[in-house]
Amino acid sequence: MDLLEYQGKQLLARHGVPVPDGRPAGTVDEAVEAAEAIGYPCVVKAQVQIGGRGKLGGIKVAESREQAREHAEAILGMDIRGLRVHEVWIEQASQIAAEYYASIVFDRSAQAPLIMLSTKGGMDIEQVAEEDPGAIAKLHVDPLLGYQDFHGRRLAFEAGVDPDVVRPVGALLAKLYQAFVSEDATLVEVNPLIITPERDVRALDAKVTLDDNALFRHPESAALRDLSAEDPQERMAKERGLIYVKLDGDVGILGNGAGLVMSTLDVVALAGGRPANFLDAGGGSKADAIVAAVEVILSDDKVRAVLFNIFGGITRCDEVAKGLIEAFGQVQPQVPFVVRLDGTNDEEGRRLLQEAQLPDLEVCATMLEAAERVVALAAATPALQAR
């Protein structure tokens, strides 16, 4: 789960990370009220999860009440690379003497958290890593030992931060690490981490990703929403307990198991088709899950044909067939379906489908054959949105 900038800042602030004073606002009036409370100059920042929003007009400085209103009106509701701005964050403007970069990521290969610190903040860190890799100091923390003060000193001296801020930068890293562990984050990134003319250290931006699997320990984080990033179909799927990722093609896809679904997308693409979605109905898919999945797939009106690719392990093919028959009764799909059932109870599943004589549903024997067939059908069928 990716947090918005202000959600990340509020989370970091709870662990003592200094951030500029700010308030979120969902309407122009709220934004003006927030600006009045914070004082001028203040910054009106669009809350969307996209890099470079400043260059796209999503960050503006207001010197007065009138300007705060003007900027909030311009930014709220604007479209930044396909994401609509639902919220702004009004923040005290900061004076900047130096811009650093700090982050903690989950390093899978090392199986340990990796802290990175650089004095080249305020720009794309991947670009820094490419052009001047020596400018980024890196250090793995033993997850059983945790962060120690020497970690901070080593990083600060290696990165070459100004000598007078070695200690406060180390202290800030300690707080970031504490937030990373106790909030079950998989990424905490502050870019830029600024040094003010008064030599204070502050997080001017915050990118925080939380582990979805640990949200049960953090009810306050589980309640956070990012309306701009939520696709309506993805939300619908989530509510029904399905794992769905929307893509931009026209072949609807359902399978069981993440690896098999990914493989199905690839095979459809190799056959010349364009997948409309990733949908993992999960292990042990029961009939009601299949009905929900069909509804979610067909709620995307770009879909021209649908492929079901099931290899039954825990999942029983007869259950999938029953679900499909039920779904056809409830939804009456207007596009053709291709179904491949293999594995546990596959013969029974195929028999049920044959007996039900569902309109516009074909059964194929192999994954490749099914992929080729669905691609041909999609090419021959107009999209729902075009009818």
């Binding site: 989950f106 899978r108 290969s109 199986q111 340990a112 958290p113 991947e126 033993d142 997850p143 059983l144 562990v181 079950d184 998989t186 582990d211 979805d212 699997n213 640990a214 049960f216 320990r217 794992i243 990722v245 893509l247 399978g255 069981n256 198991g257 993440a258 690896g259 098999l260 679904v261 990914m262 493989s263 997308l265 690839d266 095979v267 459809v268 693409a269 190799l270 997948p275 990733f278 993992d280 292990g283 290899f311 039954g312 392990g313 825990i314 293999d342 594995g343 546990t344 192999t366 994954m367 490749l368």
Partner: protein
């Protein structure tokens, strides 16, 4: 031979009294696995169809000589159960549970590496099958028979798909190992490749990877240096968009890293042939072993 589990496996199932735990423990027993005990705190003294249940792993190991554990408890209790099994002295732990918090996995994995002598497979994996000998986990054993192809995979159903295609071409398996789709697996491709390399029965190794992380790239380097047996690979997720988690917590492409193309190129650069579809994988196996 086979790897990790065989006829000498004495299995203790954590969460044996739960619905899924009972179902799969009994399934594994029907296959021939010696299911010697189960653990459910508070239910010690009961039995599940004749399998004695204990309150703690320590008791289960002491009383029944369990040497392998299978963890089936819900995600929030799973890390604790894995640590308990290791503490009690089993040498192999298979964690089926999905959805374990990543920081829990990190602590478990760091501890087990330091502790030594314990191998963890999973979590979020389908388990291990050594056809004709033992089945620990949820792999549908009916599709596989004994043979000389070792399979190691990050995905369950994809393993069945590839295994089934091989079976249709007449190949059986020494062992099939699902290492799981989480960012911090207890065992990596490299760990399992090392075991297959040392296993007499295994003549060829099929590895099925997917997008995310760099485990396949690391395996490629390891294979070039340490594996003499032929390895055929498959990677799922060529069409996955960056920044989206594709079902498995580990399957996410961040920036330019972890793409299927990068993985396939790394493997091919180190002499590993990569099939673009599961069928192509079995074609390559046929080509190498003769069909």
């Amino acid at each position: 031979m086979s790897i990790l589990i065989d006829r000498a496996t004495r299995l203790c199932v954590s969460g044996i009294t739960g619905r899924e735990g009972t179902f799969h423990a009994m399934n594994n027993r029907r296959y021939g696995t010696q299911v010697v005990s189960g653990v459910t705190p508070g239910k010690g003294g009961q039995d599940v169809d004749g399998v004695p249940v204990f309150d703690t792993f320590r008791d289960a190991v002491a009383e029944t000589g369990a040497n392998t554990a299978m963890v089936f408890v819900p995600a929030r209790f799973a890390a604790d159960s894995i640590l308990e099994a290791a503490d009690a002295g089993v040498h192999t732990i298979v964690a089926i549970t999905e959805g374990i918090p990543a920081h829990d996995e990190l602590r478990v994995s760091a501890h087990l590496r330091r502790y030594g002598g314990v191998r963890l497979i999973g979590p979020n994996c389908p388990g291990i099958l050594s056809p004709g000998k033992a089945n620990v986990g949820i792999i549908p054993a009916a599709f596989f028979k004994p043979g000389n192809v070792g399979v190691v995979s990050r995905s369950g159903t994809l393993t069945y798909q590839i295994g089934n295609e091989l079976a249709q071409r007449g190949f059986g398996n020494s062992s099939i190992v699902g290492i799981g789709g989480d960012p911090v697996p207890g065992s990596t491709f490299i760990d399992v490749l090392e075991l297959f390399e040392a296993d007499d029965e295994t003549e060829i190794i099929v590895m099925a990877g997917e997008i995310g992380g760099s485990a396949e790239e690391e395996a490629a380097e390891y294979i070039a240096e340490h594996v003499t047996k032929p390895v055929v690979a498959y990677i799922a997720g060529f069409t996955a968009p960056p920044g989206k988690t594709m079902g498995h917590a580990g399957a996410i492409v961040s920036g330019s890293k972890g793409t299927a193309n990068a993985k396939a190129e790394a493997l091919e650069a180190h002499g590993v042939r990569v099939g673009r579809t599961p069928s192509e994988v079995s074609d390559i196996v046929v080509e190498i072993l003769g069909g």
